[in-house]
């Protein structure tokens, strides 16, 4: 995935001021920054929910402006806001998104059951989503994001509403996806998580890239990534 010189203004707020980075298959790429830095807007542009004012995004050879539907077919997104259809069961929720993501009818059952097994959803698969815990809902959200087997997975603050156990499961899933050769984009402001998981990171501040490179490189001689982050965003 290649992001080049992205610019975006929402209302009177200039959210992005020329963001560029690249993320590759088989790595976890961290998009870090404080709240309001432009992380979510960047991800929304990548997944074609927003159009950039300037700049381009290329996902596996598809331009987000020219082929948005193709791009959406190649990516899966998990956000902090765990929205699932409350009156559908976990299984129905996953199947619905599989169908909308153009999983062929002949593969539908196999794919749905596959992700249910992989994410250990079986015990509550037929329960209505309204009765599920936050952790269970997050599993359903992950399942629906990956049921069409996307090449790019984007996680936008995926653990911010979860307890310790559920957060750990999400992190493990990200590592497992990387091992499967997926390109994993991880947006977070939790430096500890980023340091543990990310191969490379880009730090955003006020809509601009303030640092980019391998995690260890960006940390430099500092004890923790958080120290580097605070230096870069100008907090003493």
């Amino acid at each position: 995935m290649t992001v080049e010189r992205l610019e975006k203004t929402l209302g009177k707020n200039r959210v992005l001021r020329g963001i560029s980075f690249q993320a590759a298959a088989g790595e976890i790429f961290g998009l870090l920054g404080p709240n309001g830095a432009g992380k979510t807007t960047t991800l929304r542009i990548i997944c074609t929910l927003l159009a950039p004012d300037k700049g381009t995004v290329d996902v596996l050879g598809f331009d987000t402006r020219k082929a948005p539907e193709e791009v959406r077919r190649l990516i899966g997104v998990v956000t902090a806001d765990i929205g699932v259809y409350p009156r559908l069961s976990a299984r129905e929720n996953i199947a619905y998104f599989a169908q909308l993501s153009r999983v062929p009818d002949r593969d539908l059952r196999r794919r749905v059951e596959g992700v249910i097994e992989r994410l250990d959803i079986e015990s509550f698969a037929d329960q209505r989503a309204e009765s599920l815990s936050s952790g269970q809902k997050q599993k359903v959200a992950i399942a629906r994001a990956i049921v069409h087997d996307p090449q790019v997975l984007m996680f936008d603050e995926p653990t911010s509403n979860l307890d310790v156990l559920a957060s750990r499961e999400v992190r493990e899933f990200m590592v497992e996806s990387k091992a499967r050769g997926k390109c994993v984009i991880f947006s977070t402001h939790v430096m500890h998580d980023a340091e543990r998981l990310c191969d490379r990171i880009t730090i955003l501040h006020e809509g601009q890239v303030v640092a980019s490179g391998a995690t260890a490189e960006v940390r430099g001689g500092r004890r923790e990534l958080e120290d580097a982050f605070l230096d870069l965003v100008g907090v003493k």
């Binding site: 929402l10 929304r44 997944c47 929910l49 927003l50 159009a51 539907e69 193709e70 959406r72 077919r73 990516i75 997104v77 956000t79 806001d81 765990i82 929205g83 699932v84 259809y85 409350p86 009156r87 559908l88 129905e92 619905y96 998104f97 169908q99 909308l100 993501s101 153009r102 009818d105 959200a141 629906r144 994001a145």
Partner: protein
């Protein structure tokens, strides 16, 4: 599988599991029979009820029997005017050559009793005159030298039934199409935003126009189901209930022409309303806010149906048939009352409603595809 069909199927499943929508449809089916039953009972009671007449003076011979026969009960009072305020329904002072009547026009019972008394007195006077003429060997027929023979061009019973239906049916049809789909439309737009499922839905490769089409089709289906439930239950109730007046001996039925016209108009209104409510729901951040946006629509649409109630003989020019909803009400009225519809009015109405549906669809699509759909949340 087409994305519109996938969305349609999922929306229908969700709606059928939604208590709010099911209650709306259930109420639609129950409300009409209950209202009709109450109206029927009150009307029957009013027609057969005995009213009291407080009187002073001497009651003319034979009049008391006539009054009893027409459910007017004579009660002796000291002051008929004072008694007519509350104690009795009307007060009467019988004099030698005249009868003074006292009644309070603000009381419905007084109005009915007064009308009944006037009829009785008219019949009593005519009978007395006829008896006097007969006693002198004169044919009482001279009192009515010209006989009026009425030849109604259609059954008065049917006309009465049609007059009732021409107001009630469009009213129920429009109300139920709007309220039946109201909850479903808001749930699938503002509700999606509130539950935070909208972003996930828009992240799928499904074209937004197909997603919207599936939602509109689902809301239209539910609207029409609610309308069919309400109208079906209305006719079941009408087949069991006798309304007062000339139609009391017959059941109210719908003309053959009115049925296809009703189906066609309902379909067009259903699609238009679904698009409009979905567009308004898309503007709202929450279900509650959506309710605030859609509620005025209810009052706007009820107004045209009321025109038929207040101006039953409203026969406008063709241009008026361009006004959405009003045109549907007028075409339905024509079909119900005259058992016929002019092709020109039906064509103008169809074009108008199709254009309304198309504009509403376009507006909904514009709202559904703009960036603000997400950034508003």
């Amino acid at each position: 599988m087409d994305a519109a069909w996938i969305v349609y199927r999922k929306e229908i499943i969700e709606i059928l599991r939604d208590r709010r929508t099911l209650m709306a449809i259930g109420l639609a089916a129950l409300a009409t029979p209950i209202v009709l039953s109450v109206i029927s009972q009150i009307s029957t009671r009013t027609a057969t009820q005995t009213y009291t007449v407080g009187y002073t003076g001497d009651v003319p011979t034979g009049l008391d029997e006539l009054m009893v026969a027409t459910n007017l009960k004579l009660v002796a009072v000291t002051d008929p005017a004072a008694a007519a305020k509350q104690q009795v329904d009307i007060g009467v002072a019988f004099g030698a050559a005249e009868v003074d009547e006292y009644y309070d026009p603000s009381r419905q019972s007084a109005q009915i009793a007064a009308t009944r008394l006037e009829t009785v007195l008219g019949q009593y006077g005519a009978a007395q005159a006829a008896a006097a003429l007969q006693s002198r060997g004169i044919d009482p027929g001279i009192l009515s030298p010209v006989h009026l023979v009425a030849h109604p061009l259609s059954s008065p019973v049917k006309a009465s039934s049609n007059a009732f239906l021409s107001f009630f049916l469009p009213y129920i049809l429009i109300t139920m199409i709007l309220t039946g789909g109201f909850s479903a439309a808001l749930d699938s737009t503002a509700g999606e935003r509130e539950r935070k499922t909208l972003e996930s839905l828009l992240l799928t490769p499904a074209p937004r126009s197909r997603v919207l089409l599936g939602k509109i089709a689902a809301v239209t289906t539910i609207s029409l189901v609610a309308a069919v439930a309400a109208i079906g239950s209305m006719f079941v109730a009408l087949s069991q209930i006798s309304l007062p007046g000339p139609s009391s001996s017959a059941h109210i039925t719908l003309n053959p022409v009115a049925v296809p016209v009703m189906v066609w108009v309902a379909l067009l209104i259903g699609v238009s309303f679904s698009s409009v409510t979905l567009a308004l729901g898309t503007l709202a951040k929450t279900f509650r806010q959506g309710q605030a946006y859609v509620t005025p629509l209810y009052f706007i649409t009820i107004f045209p149906a009321s025109i038929i109630l207040f101006i039953p003989d409203f026969n406008p020019g063709l241009a008026i048939y361009l006004v959405p909803i009003l045109n549907a009400v007028l075409v339905l009225r024509d079909a119900i009352v005259h058992n016929a519809v002019e092709w020109s009015t039906l064509a103008v109405t169809s074009v108008s409603l199709l254009a309304t549906g198309a504009i509403s669809w376009f507006a909904a699509l514009r709202l559904f595809t703009r960036e603000g759909l997400l950034t508003r949340s």
